[in-house]
Symmetry: C2
Subunit: 300 residues, 2 copies
Amino acid sequence: MTLPGKVAIREVALRDGLQIEEPIPLSAKLELLAAIAATGVREVEVTSFVSPTKVPALADAAELAAELWRYPDTEFSALVASPGGAARAVAAGLTSIEYVVCASDAFSTANVGRSSAEATAAIADIAGIAHDAGATVEVIIATAWDCPFDGPTAPRRVIDIAAKATEFGVDRLAIADTIGTTTPRRVTELIAAVRPIIGGIPLGAHFHNTRGAGLASAYAAVSAGITRLDSSAGGLGGCPFAPGATGNIATEDLVYLLHDCGVETGIDLQAAIGAAQVAGSVVGHGLPSALLAAGDRKRD
Amino acid sequence: MTLPGKVAIREVALRDGLQIEEPIPLSAKLELLAAIAATGVREVEVTSFVSPTKVPALADAAELAAELWRYPDTEFSALVASPGGAARAVAAGLTSIEYVVCASDAFSTANVGRSSAEATAAIADIAGIAHDAGATVEVIIATAWDCPFDGPTAPRRVIDIAAKATEFGVDRLAIADTIGTTTPRRVTELIAAVRPIIGGIPLGAHFHNTRGAGLASAYAAVSAGITRLDSSAGGLGGCPFAPGATGNIATEDLVYLLHDCGVETGIDLQAAIGAAQVAGSVVGHGLPSALLAAGDRKRD
């Protein structure tokens, strides 16, 4: 097993982290964004262009997008769930679009009112909208391992979506453990199943720490050659299907682990702990990050 | 990479979990022990025979030991730090002794007032006391990766202690990440360095989740062939060098991960979550376990 020398982390606190929080002011988001930018992270998922009534915490997507010119060295992405959302995102100036397709039908229907196959078919339209605007598009395959309604997701469903996305010319793919249930062996197996059918398209992974296995799964993914991972400052982001449980893996915990394993991220660990402190401050409650409580390894 | 079919978990909530807590009554320990025994775990580290002024929470070691006959199918062990402690442990009826040797001098001196070499030399006496009483002895090499005072521990120090312990005829060995700083790559490397020099002696590993990497490290250990792991109900057990930080990996989180990876433990997950609830109840505060908050994976 050889680890990659470098992994690109995408910071998702501003989108996946905030989406089930009570809405916070734009000024607080800008404060968090400044702290995140100071960590050295190069990719930031900054908001989503979805229904403001469904996700009120991200209703200010266009206003936030209008502030992003302040960080010319950062690649900002926004999540969309429909062609209409993609159109709004590119109109707001986003040049990197993420389109979520749920691999399970029950989750897809609950989330966006479409079956998984219908959501998959819309990839072509969304890729067209993005590419026509000069933007890139990434398809994130959600509930890639388990669905809270349908149970385990058959790998074949993920493979079929990845094949369609490849056929439709997407620029990147990711597989997401939406409800935080997967573990290293299934991570390794799904990556091995998906990679051969997507050609040279970069594949990322998105883990939640809901059952404590998020970092173990992330390490398994990196060991399997994945060099793109999502994480959230402070571990911000709950799990709507497990109230009180943790959500996204924490950026600073992931950075600590990767650096200690000799894998570079370009992120400054102390600055990442600082961003986690800001994340906790803007939402006004404790966060599950381990580094936030323990600090970096040091001599006393 | 082939995972073992089965891993033996040793439940350490009653010793490592409780040792830095405020002392709780013997009756509360027996309540927790009953919940732990109900999980199906076969090995339980139940107390330590050390200075009651240094570790007041475990001052009732002999009284607790007198209750263990109630669980004839469980193997109980107790931790000791000196030949005198070993003598007290076997006098109290313990048939499995754990002797901790710190690989770093500063930690060894702070902990037991002896250098690492002096503590290593005492293995012979302690093995003699245990074996004369018909008990087994395990040497746990503490601060095996990092010391809070000396910084990173040279692998050579761990190897030398393991070699001495092997020469002195100990029955088992374990390597412990005492302050919760190691990560998978260093776990894999140290196991690869230690195993060739200890012959057929079983090697276990003990991880803390202080920097969030505990389960990732445990998975790395199992991937490297380790089939003995310590964990604590609810993740009970703090880190004296990082106030407020988490300590031991949680038994139920470890069981979830291992079972999901196809590795059996003989532990019932729901009963383990129940034991974690009892652990939280007897200490009267929240515990960091992920499963305690999120529950097992299930269909809603």
